[in-house]
Symmetry: C2
Subunit: 317 residues, 2 copies
């Protein structure tokens, strides 16, 4: 009989198909497990799957007294209260680097689309305005890539892949991260100095207390009126109200966003800007990276049920 | 007194500002010069500026009996009847490679946007469909870049810059061109074989009789139902009717287009597809590449008026 696994976050069914071939899935559909399952059902659950960004604290863990394993689908685990998990003897695994290429690709897609005004350009053709030679201030030539200064905030697997991709566009690349890395890019000792130096800021840091609202009004001001910010990390890293204000004031030139403070909600004040490109948190959303993330989830859960340590354990837990 | 120069194609005024500082511009606004200027005015014209794609035959040249120099703004010169110019002793110059980086950047932008469904993704966020969890078949995961086979058709300056950029996305790159080049990419001996091999075909060949409708129904069929075509070269290289049919039948997965058969008209049958990304022939449209193209035009015209050969002469003319 296959082992039971609770699905905690709301996932499309297609993503759980392969995993469901290995385990008996109890899908809570994104609701608190106590609302969907009986106390008896919950008492039999030893492992669960969650999306790293979904809040998961000790109170929820306590509704499943046998819970000993949490497998995060994806790289992030910022929603999981690691201390609470450790106190309850619950191991936490994730899918490190499985989606790094896909996320880095989307970061560069957002940068290119925002700086070349791709969405207004497509609309200019589709609406017939081009055919009728209607002038459009949005279609004025913009600065190009060669010589452009791109700043990468965070130099993990995703940051490295962003850097190597943008460097191919004849740009200059610098980065700020807690520590220097053995990478061929200029290290800048603070986020503020990086924002001052670059014209495109690519956010690739892990979410957490130390990066919460790290990109605030001051950083955006340093980026300047020809500057762009691209975020494929977590919405919490940007002060979203400050971003809206900076866009409204022309304090920055535009933005590319895959993540938001309160997903799946992108506020109306943000969706009104023509110089912002938005995607619905689909950075890791390619066939290959889903397969790789599913492999990590399956390997973590199989190891747990076999009484072994998870191969992709969150460090320090 | 500054030398007189006819502006033949329709150019935004901003693009001619710097050039107008060196010469006395007679702007025909895209109309036949004979409709705008008197025979006496035309007889004084020794040099003109045109966009390379604008048709310019012997009959128009004959309306300006003193014409001895044509400066193309941009890399292309496919609209200029080179034989007619040679017969009349008119030298033809262009702006080689001045816009190569900007055009290659847009090619990659179109490839990334088409393959990651960027436009439907932005619309999914902006419309509120994401917030209301409305399912969208367009948001299903797509194949990613690592391991993707990208075929580059044409290996001039733009083709090389496209290849070096896409290679940074962990793709495999191959190319077809009339001759092999000293480049680190697989050479494929025919366009048909390239289309068979790749899943994204990037068109970077010069327009001409030998490339007219080179990408036809057969090539698109070889590309296959998971294949994309990106064109930043000239609309004439693709059989546009065959492209519309291939998109309608699902014979290919999508397209990214900066150029069209009959610009500025993108046919309604093309603008209806959600899996096509369109831009209004803005490949070379960055501040730096306009400055570089203007430098070439000015250098070509100054040399001509000084009785010297143009520094950026079209080869073989």
């Amino acid at each position: 009989m296959p082992n039971k696994v609770l699905i905690y976050s709301r996932f499309p069914k297609a993503m759980m198909m392969r995993i469901g071939g290995q385990f008996e899935l109890m899908d809570g559909g994104g609701k608190p497990p106590g609302e969907v399952f009986t106390a008896e059902q919950l008492s039999g659950i030893r492992a669960m799957i969650t999306a790293g960004g979904t809040p998961l604290g000790g109170a929820v863990m306590d509704t499943m007294p046998s819970l000993r394993a949490i497998a995060c689908y994806g790289t992030g685990y910022d929603g999981v209260d690691l201390t609470a998990a450790a106190q309850r003897g619950i191991m936490v695994g994730h899918s490190p680097a499985a989606n790094a290429a896909a996320v880095a690709d989307l970061a560069v897609t957002l940068m290119l689309a925002a700086t070349r005004r791709l969405l207004p350009a497509d609309n200019y053709v589709r609406s017939g305005d081009w055919a009728s030679a209607k002038p459009s201030p949005l279609m004025r030539p913009q600065p190009g890539n060669p010589g452009r200064r791109v700043g990468v905030y965070g130099m993990g697997e995703i940051g490295r892949k962003i850097a190597s991709r943008v460097a191919a566009f004849e740009t200059e690349v610098a980065y700020f991260s807690r520590s220097r890395h053995a990478v061929p890019y200029l290290y800048v000792p603070s986020l503020e100095a990086l924002a001052e130096w670059c014209s495109v800021l690519m956010i690739a840091v892990r979410a957490g207390a130390d990066t919460h609202h790290a990109v605030d009004a001051n950083i955006l001001r340093k980026l300047g009126s020809d500057g762009y910010v691209v975020n494929i990390s977590r919405g919490s890293v940007i002060d979203q109200d400050a971003l809206v204000a900076a866009l409204a004031d022309g304090a920055i030139a535009g933005a590319g966003l895959d993540v938001y403070e309160n997903e799946p909600h992108a506020p109306d004040r943000l969706t009104g800007f023509a110089n912002v490109v938005m995607t619905p948190h689909v950075g890791g959303h390619t066939l290959e990276s889903h397969a790789a993330m599913q492999n990590c989830v399956i390997a973590n859960l199989e190891a747990f049920f076999a009484g072994k340590p998870m191969p992709h354990l969150v460090r320090g837990v």
